[in-house]
Symmetry: C2
Subunit: 555 residues, 2 copies
């Protein structure tokens, strides 16, 4: 075994949901697996997306040789424009994954300057000391791979996101044999998806949704609307096939639904005979029982096509009494209010609404492996080291416990979080040091527009109790106070605010009167005194804590 | 049948989650069933609780004769202090429900002026033209009743919240016979709880939790912490009984856990032998395997005992490696982030954490009736009119469909929402008119402190893109501008804000320069011009829309 060490450095996604990104380093060569985004918690006010802090990679920019992608979901590719604008390295991904990336790069003007390399399951490629073998896995979208990475000290396997679907709708089977082969030859480390570790048993096959779709297509007498994640190629394919069988034309409504489906059509993942697809403007030209509308907006996004159609505010997608609307997707925690608001509106339009309410057959199945599938892969791979990836702390922890209990199959189970360096060499594996990681908050879709923590803190403060502005005009020649005023916003009802303003005026006047002329020359001191005295008065009289921001105007 | 009409007026809880409140009126007599609160959506920034707008009752204050309570949950009694401070009428409730109300009234200084009347299942009482018969039902807390209300034109039944638990832990059976009797005699209208209408089958009995508790008590070798809703008397009783069997002392930690359990002990719902309860300060005096800590904070509330213990910041409740922490409750949608944050902290403390992850036997069961239980009650009652209550729009709607499909058992199923008047007389039932309803937002726990919509709107705006304050000092004698400045908060990073401020200064100077002297005398016009010009400049250069609040100081 050669001397040297393999360093594994998760930059996002271990101990947090989303923004998956992991670096593998051998001496002066670094390869990076995925670079995803995270949708911000509502606490991050006004922030649109969150991406991992890439400081470590930027500091070692000359060593970073490649970005390799496992699949085309946003939490694995959403940070790529941000990544490439800092680090212009070749990108490796399967055909469909690269197609999803291309649109993003075009939007950010990065497409022409980026080297995109298509990879195929089973076709190995070399980057410096690493030989990478993509292995086909099943998931909720097409063309997903795990990565077997041959390093100088052994093979490590990164599963990406997966489930073990025994009956995938595209008949592209999960390559159990590759995992088995590697297991027989010996695997140094397995890095496995933890997303569904809390679920016992097996995740149902994507094919389970077919039964429910069949029932819906048979029963529906009028217009049918189906919404699903635009990346759910399997689901879209199924819907389009059934539309054809049931003699319905298909209209694609909403930008993301349209873009993704066009990609799937271009690449041949979905097969559509001529004349099946119609333009949204033609929906009204066909009888209601002859139309299927595939529509964006399964998470209740306020500007999505479905949200607008639900309040009868979409030009082409008009939902009428007796129509059927299907939400074929998970209700992502945090989105319940928005989704149920859309469902309520649909019911108000007298539509028949079908959504994931736990009934069987399911209208949606997960794309991630449950406990028995996780155990199956561990048994096939029999790694010396096992490391859970892709999950919040509790999920990594439960995945660790699951692996620890598999004595015959796992040498040693270890847990690392984003930023912790895992070092593997001929002596074994250990945590060794940390790198700086973190979240970069991006506002308004502009990639350069980073929002600082302080700004978010201010917004939070403003959002809780509003703002009170004591404003004083001081004559810079005489040092005398020419005018003083208090302005408030988002603080209290008009009457209360007026009252507080009037009394606060007296408080401020007293503060100024009692300040020495020396203090009055130092505006910093004056501001702080005003702030403190007003704060005390306001907390006492209203029990609220608005942001108090004294302003001194020199005139 | 006497001439006259019964009006049913839901003031909250029909078409929204929480703040249940419903008025029944016959001529000049009104009785009100429940007055609950709603926990605010995160959109209502800085609002603590939400209660129904009681305008209709206040306008008819001389007619309101009584407030009758079905049970002691916050969404049924949380608005009572607000109700009673406006309408001082007698309150009717079972022993336990009234005990829960008493604490609230004491806190708001209303206890001495309120007439509380204890009611018992099966003991009828009369209020004006109404005779009310409380019927025992099962739910997640004790002493719950449905109400059969005898009116001049027939009996209407209001179920309150319920499930049909065939094996309640306190052996106080659901009074199926009373419902059956009424069904045989003829019921005019049934108003039934819709909370769990989306769930098929039966809700498991509260007793199903016992199996899981037994497993936990048997397996746990060190300290055991159990958190549940403080109103879950059944659950607390079970935990205390098991502690006794397993020779553990019991400490109650957290105000709500302590208060509710004291009430349950006082009223004899929980039986505790001398010496079993210990003071939280004594936890450290007993070996870890001899202690059960019942602790508040199952929803991850930031200041709760469990949240503080999870970060090792509680004086008495110290959680150590190997301890077991049980969250015996539902993860209420919207609270996931907070709850999982607590669970993560507990795992980091190396505790064994047990929470509702869908596994069987369950660590929590619902208190609301699933579809088969709803059908059972409908079959027993056989109402002429059926009206779903307690649910969001989609739930009311699905409950309506469920009832409509029961042709033999339901005469006519109707749906009303909060504010809609349902009128019943000898000719039948119909919607007839509306009353003003709405949400009253209350800040900071002070009952008088109503937050106006405008204030919330301002806070939302502030929270999204911050605030920009152009401030101009104008000499009132000369009309000249003495000084001008721009201040920002929560708007952009310091560098960007400085840049915008500097350039905005020029924009503002230009606006002022180009204003006529007539405009300059009207500060309203000046402010609006500054606001518009700055807005255009800021949107163009940053794509953000901060609140722009021009201030003019006259000096």
């Amino acid at each position: 075994m050669p001397s040297g060490k393999l360093q594994v450095i998760p930059l996002g996604g271990l101990g947090e949901f989303g923004m998956n990104c992991m670096a593998f380093r051998w001496a002066d060569d670094i390869i990076v697996i995925d670079c995803g985004l995270m949708f911000p918690e509502s606490e991050l006010l006004g922030v649109d997306i969150v991406v991992p802090d890439l400081k470590y990679l930027i500091e070692h920019r000359d060593k970073v040789k490649a970005l390799i992608l496992t699949h085309g979901h946003e939490d694995h590719i959403g940070g790529i424009p941000w990544f490439l604008s800092e680090l212009n390295v070749p990108v490796y991904g399967t055909e469909f994954t690269l197609a999803m990336v291309e649109g993003k790069l075009e939007e950010h003007g990065l497409l022409d300057d980026t080297e995109l390399n298509e990879i195929k399951p089973g076709e190995r490629f070399r980057i410096g000391p690493f030989t990478v073998n993509p292995i086909r896995v099943t998931h909720s979208l097409v063309d997903c791979v795990a990565l077997a990475i041959h390093t100088p000290i052994g093979v490590v396997i990164h599963t990406g996101d997966f489930k073990v679907d025994p009956t995938p709708t595209d008949n592209q089977l999960f390559d159990l044999h590759a995992f088995a082969e590697y297991g027989k030859e010996g695997v140094l480390a397995l890095f496995q998806d933890s997303t569904n570790v809390e679920r016992s048993g097996y995740t149902p096959s994507e094919r389970a949704v077919r039964t429910k779709f069949e029932e819906i297509f048979h029963r529906t007498k009028r217009r049918l609307f189906i919404s699903c994640f635009s990346s759910s190629t399997h689901r879209i394919k199924l819907a389009i096939e059934m539309a054809q069988q049931h003699h319905r034309k298909v209209a694609l409504v909403g930008r993301s639904m349209n873009d993704s489906t066009e990609i799937a059509l271009d690449l041949g993942y979905v097969d559509v005979p001529d004349g099946l697809l119609i333009h949204p403007g033609q929906i009204k030209d066909f009888p209601p029982e002859k139309v299927l509308v595939m529509i964006s907006g399964t998470q209740g996004e306020p500007m999505s096509a479905l949200s607008r159609a639900a309040v009868d505010n979409h030009k082409h997608a008009r939902i009428e009494a007796g129509d059927t609307v299907v939400l074929s997707s998970r209700i992502i925690p945090g989105n319940e209010k928005a989704i149920y608001r859309v469902i309520d509106h649909l019911f108000r339009r007298e539509a028949n609404v079908i959504y994931d309410d736990g009934s069987w057959p399911p209208i949606h199945v997960s794309g991630h492996a449950s406990q028995e599938e996780l155990r199956l892969i561990i048994n096939l791979v029999k790694p010396r080291y096992f490391i859970p990836i892709h999950g919040e702390y509790r999920q990594l922890r439960r995945h660790l416990e699951l692996a620890k209990s598999m004595h015959g199959a796992v040498g040693h189970a270890m847990m690392i979080e984003s930023g912790e360096i895992l070092e593997l060499d001929e002596l074994g594996a250990r945590k060794n040091g940390k790198v700086a990681v973190g979240r970069v908050c991006i506002d308004s879709g502009s990639m350069g527009d980073v929002v600082e923590d302080l700004v978010i803190k201010d917004r939070r403060h403003l959002s809780e109790d509003g703002i009170v502005l004591p404003i004083v005009a001081i004559n810079k020649l005489t040092g005398e106070i020419e005018s003083a005023e208090i302005v408030t916003r988002g603080f209290a009802s008009e009457a209360v605010a007026a009252d507080i303003t009037a009394q606060g005026h007296d408080v401020m006047a007293k503060t100024l009167r009692e300040s020495s002329s020396e203090e009055m020359r130092d505006y910093g001191v004056v501001k702080e005194k005003i702030r403190q005295d007003l704060k005390r008065f306001i907390v006492k009289s209203t029990a609220r804590r608005p942001m108090i921001l004294p302003v001194i105007l020199e005139i």
